[in-house]
Symmetry: C2
Subunit: 519 residues, 2 copies
């Protein structure tokens, strides 16, 4: 319903806004100053190194997250930002710290296995060698089937295998940039109420928990999964729940490559017993189960406007198979570089600029949602006073690709404004304002509370095919030149929003502001 009505509105509006709209006073002189500074003295490389290589994987509430947050706060303080701090946003869950991991096939012969433990996996209590038994992926949620096979699992590794994956060669590139045609036809994201997502997630997580409890009681050693994208040296690794303080300790879990998984399955199907040796050593702590974001500010300089805010952010948390470079150190790097540029150039924003680096995004946008609930609107829809003071929130979380435009998220009045702001960046490849919704990241929390929240349109590079949530999400998969381009545009947008005479126009608050797809 909503999708249709928005589309009709868009058509109606297109003719209006393209024929007459207010002229924006775009400060291109400052835009050029920002661009020149970034291209001559960028800190992108250094920030990227610290947030990925030095911090390591940044799972929400993990030591890696703490290292990254601490470094970001100290660094932004050094740059001159104020109120730089960790800010708790609510209850999250357990702190997971991986201390040791090894796996190999031992029978019929020794061979390394490409594998990564899933976050919040408990320890195996030392090195465990045992046979593998198969559990068809289609039966993974079938408690009747599992109950019938419980005796088979005792003392074994359970390999959950899907249908045969055909690694069809790599005749298509895994990375791409958006064509003009793709930019002209950005896809729309179907939005639903947050509570629908939480109900779905709740039901799903509960079902998984029931299966996990069954498998644990079977006396199996660990559950090994794979996925259709885990080919060609890329392994995607994440967790579905299991992190809450009250969640029981389940079996150790890990993800392996399709090549290894299918080999093991073929051997077992052919009557060859397969033994693996696995060691996972990890600690799960409930010493501090609160979730934290990182925030910092560049104070506004206009006495009348400095109480108002322009916000920008990305999520600092990541999954664990690599160092979360494109998901989403990239966004944090760009946002930190944007505030560094603004601060170091002595540009005087009229409104206060607040950067936020979120935790808990990967588990359900928790950090930004918690922050918005604390600051702007409660779950009953009751607005807090700060809500009216935020002009906009700008987010970057679609990988390492440069900015090609921005999703106006159905905010019709904003389209002509952003078109004028973007005009000076046409030569950098960014000149598309799409009225479509895009989902799956933290601008949705702002959209939910009636605050204009935007995600930029980015070149996909190999974000979907290879890097996000995978063992390939490391520093060397960043496109540093793209991040510099993004920092120039974000800094310019944020600055322009801070000096615009009025706040950016808002949509009416609607309930359906969260995307139903994975985060």
């Amino acid at each position: 319903m909503k999708k249709l009505s928005i589309k009709l509105l868009l058509v109606a509006c297109f003719f209006t806004v393209t024929t007459a709209h207010a002229q924006e006073s775009v400060d291109t002189a400052t835009f050029n100053k920002i661009r020149k500074a970034e291209l001559s003295n960028s800190h992108i490389e250094q920030i990227a190194h610290y947030l990925t290589d030095v911090a390591g994987p940044r799972l929400t509430n993990s030591p890696g997250y703490q290292r990254a947050a601490t470094w970001a706060i100290e660094t932004m303080k050094k740059w001159g930002l104020v109120n730089a701090k960790m800010e708790p946003w609510g209850e999250f869950g357990k702190q997971w710290d991986l201390q040791d991991f090894s796996i190999s096939m031992k029978l019929p012969y020794m061979q390394p296995i490409m594998a990564y433990p899933n976050p919040w996996s408990p320890s195996t209590n030392g090195l465990q060698q045992a046979q593998v038994v198969l559990l068809p992926g289609g039966k993974m949620m079938d408690t009747v089937y599992i109950k019938q096979h419980l005796a088979d699992y005792k003392g074994k590794f359970i390999l959950v295998h899907g249908s045969k994956i055909n690694t069809s060669g790599n005749f298509k590139p895994s990375a791409e940039r958006l064509t003009d045609s793709a930019l002209a036809h950005t896809s729309d994201t179907y939005m639903v109420e947050r509570k629908m997502i939480e109900m779905y997630l709740g039901t799903y997580v509960k079902l998984i928990a029931r299966v996990d409890a069954l498998l644990k009681n079977s006396g199996a050693i660990a559950v090994i999964s794979t996925g259709p994208q885990n080919i060609n040296g890329t392994v995607f690794v994440q967790a579905n729940g299991g992190f809450k303080a009250t969640d029981p300790e389940n079996l150790p879990t890990l993800n392996i490559s399709v090549e290894d998984g299918q080999k093991i399955k073929r051997l077992i199907d052919g009557g060859q017993p397969v033994e693996l040796a696995l060691n996972i050593k990890a600690t799960l702590s409930t010493a501090d189960t609160k979730g934290y974001n990182v925030v910092a500010e560049i104070p506004g300089t206009d006495p009348k406007l400095k109480a108002q805010l322009v916000m920008l952010g990305g999520h600092l948390d990541s999954w664990t198979a690599a160092t979360g470079a494109t998901d989403n150190a990239a966004g944090c790097i760009v946002m930190m570089e944007a505030v560094r540029l603004l601060d170091s150039l002595g540009i005087k924003p009229k409104r206060t600029i607040r950067i936020a680096l979120w935790g808990g995004e990967e588990q359900g946008l928790y950090g930004s949602y918690g922050y918005v609930k604390n600051h702007f609107m409660d779950t009953d829809g009751k607005l807090k006073s700060e809500q009216s003071k935020v002009s906009a929130y700008f987010n970057l979380d679609n990988g390492t690709g440069k900015i090609r435009g921005i999703y106006a998220q159905g905010n019709i009045a904003i389209k002509p404004i952003f078109e004028q702001w973007l005009a000076p960046f046409k030569d950098l490849g960014a000149n598309t304002v799409s009225l479509k919704n895009t989902g799956s990241t933290d601008h949705l929390s702002f959209d939910w509370a009636g605050i204009p929240g935007f995600q930029f349109i980015q070149d996909p590079i190999d974000y979907e095919t290879r890097t996000h949530h995978s063992n390939m999400d490391s520093y060397d998969h960043l496109q540093l030149a793209d991040l510099k381009q993004a920092a120039i545009i974000v800094a310019s947008f944020v600055y322009q929003a801070s000096i615009k005479p009025d706040l950016l126009p808002r949509k009416a608050i609607v309930k359906e502001t969260f995307a139903f797809e994975g985060f």
Copy 2:
């Protein structure tokens, strides 16, 4: 010199052979029978499973090689082939058996490392945890530099790093098929005398041995290498020497991904000490240092011709990071399937068909060269009687891609013959006869002894970019349909050679019959 003269000859010959050549009596009825049998009842999948999944990595003289050889012999006996056996070809070297391997980064935080021990690496004597020190790749052969830094290496891991590798995204496909234009312009390979290669290899291996001895005496724990292609989850793993019975035991060596290598280098360059924990457990045995090939025959049925031979083969040995599926289980699978087809169809070859699966190819074509020296010609150029009885040797060792044609290896008289033999396979994509030389595999040993030896032209797929010698060289990277096509063509060619009234025409014996590139 040779290259030029051959080219002139080719030009002269082109006009001759295209205007007048003998008509071949091609047995297309049998070709069709072979094709139908392969397409309706192929054993490719099963052979592939056994040679890769079940045998495991097939390093020359290793237990995996033994498993594969034993299975191939038993299987071919079951099919009805005769004289199936392991045949020693001469002195090779140590048997290496990997029994345990684990590696992870421990400081500044724990994280898995994508790494594989190099073949013939000795054990680390248990799990060793220590700091990493850097050795620039450009200094790897600089004994003066290394001597100056020996004290730095004591008790440490030495990371040999090259120049920064830019993982530029993957905007180009890594796999491809040959275009008509590529087929029309196959490249020529510069050929040299075998003794030149052995001199070069000898010098190179001696220099490496000197460096290895220096590093070992430094008291370092292991040498860690990477290479410019070790990106995106692919790690290439091989060894330069170290396998001969008289070779000293060097330091443990391993190969890691560029992503891991560059991260470690950036951390160390940034003043962050990096510690790894490594365990390699491997046995090096000199109980049997002879090298072995696998041979088997389908006896010829013509009393006058059955003493003559048509040979076909691929190399059974592989490197160790995966199961050597495309290099070169693929060739062995196709050759085994070809003889199975011929045998199971009750086709009566006039000449005897002999299949050979070589060992020691990866270390320098040793298995085929040794075989040819034992059977056909000694190193002084003295021919043995069997030399005159071999019509041709057909080889397949350019990966998993289907056959697009054949390299005539400068054999001008053979071009019109092969063109007629290939004509029935135009619809399968194979219709190019190139007069060019191609190098790097076992047909060269036959060429050296004056026996027509041929390698087919194959679609490259992702052989060069991803699979050969790498951790990606596993069953799931085989193109099974391509292997079926190849088996049809090879079986047909071998059969046709077996019934041709005369032996295939020969070139004069020249000294320059080995390619200088890597094997």
